[in-house]
């Protein structure tokens, strides 16, 4: 393990420990901030597991998040909590698998639009079902789960997301996803089953998002489709991951912290102009930090392998004139 990896690991464990300790030392407001930070960290990092290396920009985050939340609303009281969480993650995985089979053939802007449409479609379907078959559009969520328990569960899920991300980067699946992001045709002709790799990563990421949705659902005592499937969440997660830098595992975190604080400030002080200011933030980020904070940091602090290009440099003149 290099010094750099050790530093990152220590920082990560430290942050998670701090988050887990909030309920013991902090106020209710601090806990609510911790929940927001952990929720968006887990969502944005899970998003970047698939969309970061492949460049398939998904706006379906809230579809899976909402599926998780709705699982709790429907069966939360009937089943043991562990089973509810497993069911939420499983449903997220399955829906992503089915959707992925049809949509992962799409590239670029078509994929973005489809995923956005998917989230809306699921929201409308749930609304239709609830209105016509369940009798009422909203549901109450009365579960004996405290804020502190939500914080701890989210801390655990965030740790799992980072662990999976680290494993993924070292695996052949991780390599395949990066190859897809660079050139899918080349990946195919190297022998990579790109469809299977995309499906697996997309579904895995979706399962984690659903899990997060299920964990935070007890926060709302009342849930309806406009809350659970609020499209703003998808955009927030996207912009956080892009601001931080989706190419690094720790990248999204660097976007989550400033933006959660900013959104908190905006929604407290400018509740009526929140959407406009959100849009301006999006534009500013895409325009000013296209490679994300992680990209900026590495440009100014040096890349992880600074010595090797220099070592290769003496051979350059010969290569150029050959």
């Amino acid at each position: 393990m290099t010094l750099r990896q050790l530093l990152l690991l220590t920082a990560g464990v430290g942050l998670l420990a701090a988050a887990a300790l909030t309920p013991l030392i902090g106020s209710g407001y601090a806990m609510s901030m911790a929940i927001n930070l952990l929720m968006f960290t887990a969502l944005a990092t899970a998003w970047a597991l698939f969309s970061g290396p492949t460049g398939y920009i998904s706006l379906a985050t809230v579809a899976f998040f909402g599926i998780g939340a709705y699982t709790v609303a429907v069966v939360g009281e009937a089943l043991p909590w562990g089973l509810v969480l497993a069911l939420a993650a499983g449903l997220g995985f399955l829906v992503a698998l089915v959707v992925g089979l049809s949509t992962l053939r799409l590239r670029g802007v078509y994929f973005v639009i489809f995923t956005f449409g998917l989230a809306e479609l699921i929201r409308q379907l749930v609304t239709w079902y609830e209105a016509n078959h369940a009798g009422s559009v909203g549901r109450f969520v009365f579960l004996d789960i405290s804020q502190a328990q939500i914080v701890w569960q989210l801390t655990a899920v965030t740790a799992v997301v980072f662990l999976l991300g680290a494993l993924l980067q070292r695996s052949r699946l991780g390599l395949t996803l990066r190859m897809i992001g660079d050139d899918e045709t080349v990946a195919l002709h190297c022998g990579a089953n790109t469809t299977a790799a995309k499906l697996l990563a997309f579904s895995l990421s979706a399962a984690l998002m659903a899990l997060v949705g299920a964990i935070v659902a007890p926060r709302w005592t009342y849930l309806d489709p406009t809350i659970a499937f609020n499209p703003v969440v998808s955009f927030q997660v996207l912009i956080m991951a892009l601001l931080g830098g989706a190419g690094r595992l720790y990248g999204p975190l660097l976007g989550v912290i400033p933006l959660v604080l900013l959104f908190e400030y905006l929604s407290a002080h400018f509740p009526n102009h929140f959407s406009i200011l959100l849009g301006v933030t999006f534009l500013a980020i895409v325009y000013l930090v296209p490679n994300g904070v992680a990209g900026l940091a590495e440009r100014y602090l040096g890349r992880p392998r600074p010595s090797q290009p220099a070592a290769a440099a003496p051979a350059q003149p010969k290569e150029g004139t050959s």
Binding site: G191, Q308, A312
Partner: protein, 244 residues
Amino acid sequence: MTRAPILTVDGLSKRFGGLVAVDGLSFSVYPGEIVGLLGPNGSGKTTTMHLISGALKPSAGSIRLGGDEIAGQPPYRIARLGIARTFQLVRVLGSMTCLENVQAGLAFGPGALAGKAAAQRAHALLERVGMHPLADRPAGELTYLDQTRLELARALAVRPRLLLLDEWLAGLNPSELVEGIALLRALREDGITMVLVEHVMDAIRSLCDRCVVMNAGRKIADAQPEAALSDPEVVRAYLGDDDA
């Protein structure tokens, strides 16, 4: 040659709507051979390469690699069976280093390598194409010439029984051309069978054992290079009736 062919193309056709790009093409490639696939622009050479590598699905006909029918199979499966290719317009994995590009070719199929073994093998392959000093450079920063060499190293990493090179020698200056031809000849010594689409006549004459010449999707000649290039129908296809 009496050995069994490594590649057998039989009655291969590809239609794009009303356009027949490849029309009932049949030819065989034997182990250790370098076969040139020639023809005027638009005669269906690159389409044929796409059909063999699986990038396109044939409308009709069969393609056999050894005993396996591969027509219509997905490209990743064909790659794993032992057909590697380069692209007419060079394609590298731009954000990855040269070493990682070659490791990408090593990572899949039977005999796949990972970790230290893959890094070692990738270094050896980069050395083979003369790119060893650039191993840690991002591939996107390379010159065109280096990218073509990197593509070849990546194709070799796929452990091909049959290598498809689509105008791999295009754009080289005379001294680079000599180097390139020597490299391909050395690869044949290693037992790699090749099909090349090529316009560089020097390369065709000095490398190819046999040439398959296409025109308007059909095969019009299949012979040794000199014989194929002086075939009246081939001359007519390239230059028109008056010169035949």
